[in-house]
Every structure is written in C-alpha cells, then in structure tokens.
Amino acid sequence: MIEVFLAPAPWNDPELFGEQVISGLATGSIYALVALAIVLIYRSTDVINFAQGEMAMLVTFSMWSLLLAGFPAWTVIFIGIALGFALGAFVERTIIRPVEDKPPLNVVVVTLGLFVFLNSIATWIWAQGELPKVFSTPFGFTSVDVSLARVTTHSIGILVVALIVMAVLYLLFNHTKLGLGMRATAHNPGASRLMGVNVGRMLMLGWALAGAVGAVAGMLVAPITFLFPGFMLAVLLYAFAAAVFGGLDSPPGAIVGGLFVGVAENLFGTYTPGDIFGPEMKLPLTLLVLVIVLMFRPQGLFGRVQTRRV
C-alpha cells in the first residue's frame, strides 16, 4: 500500500513530514493574514471584500516600482503598509459607505467591481514589461536546519512577521480604548453611537487595518509566487476557505483556519496516492475537508451561531 504514495510515508521520513508541516504553516500564516483581513471587514461592516487580494496586489506592485526606483527595502516596506492602510480607508469612505445601508448584494457587486478595476489598473501600469516580476525578500531563501527539518529563511520570516501582526492586532483590540470602540461597533453599531463612539471612523479604521494586513500578506507572498496581476487570486481563495472554516466573524478562527488550510494543502500535495490522483488534487481535497466540517458546524469552528431576537 505504501508504494502508491508519491512520497515515503511520514514514519519512514519524518524530516520530509516536518518540512511539509513547517512550510505549510508558513503559507498557512499568509492565508491566515488575508483571512484576518476579510474577517476584520466582515465583522465591522458585514461586507465580504472580494477585492482584498487585489488591494494587496496593487500595493505590492507599487512597492516593486519603489524598489526599482532605488528606495531602500525597509523604507519601501513601511510605505507599503501605510499604502495598504490608506487604500483601505479610502475604499471604505468613497465606495463602500454609500452602499452600506443598501441591500447586501449591492456591496457584493461593488467589491467585485473594485476587484476588476484594481486588476485592470495593475495590468495597464505594470504589464508592459516582462511578467511575472521578481520580488525579493529581506529574509532571503537560505535553507536552515530547524531541529528535524530544513526550511528556508523566508518561511521563518513569514511565520515571525505573521506572529507579530497577530500580536499587534490582539493588543490593539483587547488592550486599547480604540480597540474597545472597534469591537463595540462590530457588535452593535447603534448602541456604540449612544456611547459616543464615532462609528463611521471605526468602520473606516477597520477597512484601513484590513488593507494594511492584506498588504503585509502581499509582500510575503510575492517572493514565492513572483509578481503578476493575478498573483493574489489563489491566496484569496484559500483565505476565504480559511475564514469560512474558522468562522467568518472570528479572528482566532481565521488564524486557525489559515494554518489548517496551509498544512492540509501541503500534506495532501505530498502524500496523495499517486495512482489514484496526483498532487494537483491537493486543493479539492483540502476544500472537501472544509466542506465536510462545515456540514457539521455551519457557523465554522469558532463562529457564533446567528441568533435573531424577536
């Protein structure tokens, strides 16, 4: 039975297994970041932002141009995060707010429209030259030994950066007054207004934070996938799956969901029985697991059951 595996079984080659898990955690934490961005926006404005990936893509391309113009890497990283933040705030203020109190489908159409618009802009500006473009990482791609497994420095960098972003968000939401106001707005905007919370500003800030987190994810993905207008598409798909799996209104759920999807995808890709289906089936297999889990927990792992009071 073991012969049909493409790779030696985990118990025969624990090193390979370890590598797959760690690099799965690394890509998984990118999905987790994008899923977090989606959840941030969904919680505060009830909007599914289909353009989340494309917003990150636009920022990453802008960073590429700045790097090409000779700006130092850390300056560009800082500008990239600020750009993501500003883009998120701008999008909420200009195109989301007018449809906020309209039927939900209107917002869906608006974010889909934004998706197409940003994608076309990027193609128009950056697709003249050669694609995909190489996007470097400050962490490098050196292989290092981590106990059992060999992983790249970029993978470790991704894990560290993701952890920092999550810690910052956690502190912001749970230990600052601003975070208190943002959480209150997500739970009950009407009552928040009565508390003197500037609800509009909180919503804009939610989008801005999501934009910044998305931008970080974009600059972490680009060194692996290279840069082209559609480079965030697959990530967005995985991130959506992760967000729904974890519970669309739960930030911890987004993180767990993202890591799960990353690891599952890697393990399915490595250990598929080759004569039945190849590693190409890793995405459908991963999604199949999610669908089965959602059949039993429709609200996702950590999501709350929607109850309506009459």
Binding site: R183, A191, R193, G196, N198
Partner: protein, 235 residues
C-alpha cells in the same frame, strides 16, 4: 435644562411626530406616557441625535443640539439608555461599563465612578468579568443604567427600564433611579409603559398619542385625571 419645541420627525414616508413640545427642568424627573407606537421612543431618539427632526428645535442648556451628532450630544452630558437595553452581549460587564465612559479620558475618575456605581449595583462587581449576555434581565437593566451613568451625564434618557422585568425587580430599578436623581442630582427623562410606577417616580408627565402631546400636568394631577386613569392606570 432640556427644551423640545415643536419637533416633527418621520421614518421614511411615515410621520411619527407632529409638533411635540416638552420641557425638562434641571434636577427633575419627567415621564412620557402613551400607548405603543405613539412616538415616545422617537422623541428620545431625536434628543440623543439618532434621528434628525424635520422641523422644530431641541435645546440643552440653551444650546441648540438637534443638528449635532450623537457623539457630540453624549459629550455635552446627555446619556440615552435605549429600549431593550442594547448591551454588548458578548463583552464583559466591565467592558460595557468602559464603553459607557468612552467619551472620557480621566482614568482615575473612571475607576472611581465604577467603584461608586458598584455601591448602587453590587451585582455588577460580582459579575465583572462575565459576558453581559449571561446576566439575568434585571441585572442587564442595572448594567444598562450603570453604563448610561458612566459618561457622567447631567440628563439621563431612559426608555422603558422596567420592560420585561418582574414587578419586584422593576421596583428595585426605580428605587435606584430615585437615589441617582436625588443624590447625584441627575435629571431624568423617562419613557415608561408602567404608568403607575412612572407617575409615582416622576414629578411631571406628558401623555403622547399618535405623535402629539395630548395632556401634560404634574404627576399628582395626572393620577387624578379621569382619562389617564382609565387609559393608563387601569382603574
């Protein structure tokens, strides 16, 4: 302290208020009586800036407030404890209180106020780290009032504080409110279904029907009024 002059307001095409005039003097308790859908809640919503009146004006301390944002109105010293309590169910009792103090920046003062309010509502201290949604109805109403007081208002708007509470629990709420009014000098503008409790608590009352004030008088006079007795007191 609060002057409402000839306000009109609508929800979409439906007109809810047809020129309402009400005055709430400083330090007093004023109540609004009337059947469901008469526009009582709408009047409170206009005062706290949740709804813009289409005509008329609202003044607080002689300053016009009917064009201001809710945030600004809270900062001026008006706190609105809404109908159905509207707590942040998944957040803790303490976080709910902190949200009540959202417009304030004096850490020590906030701490001192929480301590002081724990004197009025001892149960909130016990439940401090529990989610607000896990409290009983009476406890939730106490939390809603306490949260409303955390902004240090001079005028407290209360919408149906006894709704859904057992008579004994609601009596306790009114006892605390009377204490708050007397000891803290906080003016109270109250909407209440239970006319008996409301009139024994308030100094002055207005009866609102279909968006208009139909009777206004001191509480004692309203208790004697034939129509009020038949319609709202049930004897």
């Amino acid at each position: 302290m609060l002057k409402i002059e000839g306000i009109e307001a609508s929800y979409g095409p439906v007109k809810a208020l047809h020129g309402v005039t009400i005055e709430v003097p400083e330090g007093s308790v004023v109540t609004l009586l009337g059947p469901n859908g008469a526009g009582k809640t709408t009047i409170l919503r206009v005062v706290s800036g949740l709804l813009r009146p289409s005509a008329g004006r609202v003044e607080f301390d002689g300053r016009r407030i009917d064009r201001r944002s809710t945030e600004a109105i809270v900062r001026m010293g008006i706190s609105h404890v809404p109908e159905g309590r509207q707590l942040f169910d998944e957040m803790t009792v303490h976080e709910n209180l902190m949200l009540g103090a959202y417009t304030r920046n004096d850490r020590d003062g906030i701490k001192a106020d929480i301590k002081r309010l724990n004197g009025y509502f001892p149960i909130l201290e016990e439940r401090r780290e529990q989610p607000a949604g896990s409290l009983s109805g009476g406890e939730q109403q106490q939390l809603a009032v306490a949260r409303g007081l955390m902004s240090r208002p001079r005028l407290l708007l209360l919408d149906e504080p006894s709704l859904g509470l057992a008579p004994l629990v609601s009596r306790e709420i009114f006892r605390i409110l009377r204490q708050v009014n007397r000891e803290e000098g906080i003016t109270i503008f109250l909407v209440e279904q239970d006319a008996t409790s409301a009139l024994s608590f308030a100094d002055y009352g207005y009866v609102v029907e279909t968006g208009r004030v139909v009777i206004e008088a001191t509480s004692d006079k309203l208790k004697e009024d034939e129509n009020v007795r038949r319609a709202y007191l049930g004897y």
